[in-house]
């Protein structure tokens, strides 16, 4: 099963230092060696982003930073493990001295109720994934 491990950030934050990145690099190497790391990314501060708000009237765009959002995402990992407990064991080893990390299970195609309504969408999704990552089937 796959989990998204979400690193929480507050407000406008800066880039990680070379030391922090080196330490994180060592942690990532452990994840890779164990074969659990399926992806990981860092997000630029919210000032480089935007929010799109949907309502019945249509979408409206608000540029970052976002004053109303208290909890922001600083980065994430995608881990492939046997259980939530195994995932938490890996998360506890992240080299953080403070802060909060959220662990969320990813919904796989098999997790959805299959009926005549959902079947075509689920089949399409599965086909995209089976051809490798989404991007590989385009090239």
């Amino acid at each position: 099963m796959r989990f998204m491990v979400i690193v929480k950030a507050t407000g406008e934050y800066g880039s990680p230092s070379p030391e922090e990145l080196a330490e994180m690099g060592r942690y990532n190497e452990k994840l890779i060696e164990a074969g659990v790391m399926k992806g990981g990314e860092g997000l630029l501060p919210p000032s480089k982003g935007a929010l799109v708000r949907f309502s019945k009237a249509g979408p409206t765009v608000v540029d970052g930073p976002f004053s109303e959002t208290k909890e922001l995402i600083g980065g994430f990992w995608i881990l492939d493990v046997k259980s939530k407990e195994e995932c938490l064991e890996w998360v506890k080893q992240i080299p953080f001295g403070e802060g909060e990390v959220e662990v969320r299970q990813i919904a796989e195609v098999e997790d959805f109720t299959r009926d005549e309504v959902s079947a075509p969408a689920l089949d399409q999704e599965k086909a995209w994934r089976e051809r490798g990552d989404w991007d590989q089937q385009i090239g």
């Binding site: 990314e41 630029l44 708000r53 909890e71 992240i94 001295g97 089937q137």
Partner: protein, 137 residues
């Protein structure tokens, strides 16, 4: 440049309610457009926060709190990673997204760090090599 498109949770996503026929069809068409345009790199939906947990870090100690979490609008229901030429292009793609909830919904667009965003250093090289390695597996 790559952007992470984050769909924020609603009461329905947290309750594990499946999208209806109309939305499923619209989402399928929209995703097909993203794939065809070579914009879609990755994407996934998340199970409700009741199946998740949070880990608090304090010095050498960690504390685990099981879900669910109450601040629905700040939670994530799903995400995709888009390859675009500019932030504006990413915004245009998101504006065309079928309204994920049918009513009020918030979608966040955030740029991802690339190797070029950092100065040259051994640590950076190792860090990104590790990411490439993981992606290749």
């Amino acid at each position: 440049m790559r952007f992470m498109v984050i769909v924020h949770a609603t009461r329905d996503t947290e309750a594990g309610v499946m999208p209806g026929e109309e939305l499923l069809e619209a989402m399928g068409k929209y995703n097909a457009e993203l794939v065809k345009a070579g914009v879609m790199l990755d994407g996934a939906g998340l199970q409700p926060s009741s199946k998740g947990a949070r880990v608090h870090f304090s010095g050498d100690r960690t504390r685990v709190v099981d879900g669910p979490f109450t601040e629905t609008k700040e939670l994530i229901a799903g995400y995709s990673v888009l390859q675009c030429n500019s932030r504006e292009e990413a915004i245009e793609w998101v504006r065309r997204m079928p309204n994920p909830t049918g009513e009020e919904g918030i979608v966040e667009i955030r740029q991802l760090y690339e190797l070029d965003d950092f100065g040259p250093s051994e640590a950076i090289e190792t860090h990104f090599r590790g990411q490439d390695h993981a992606a290749a597996r």
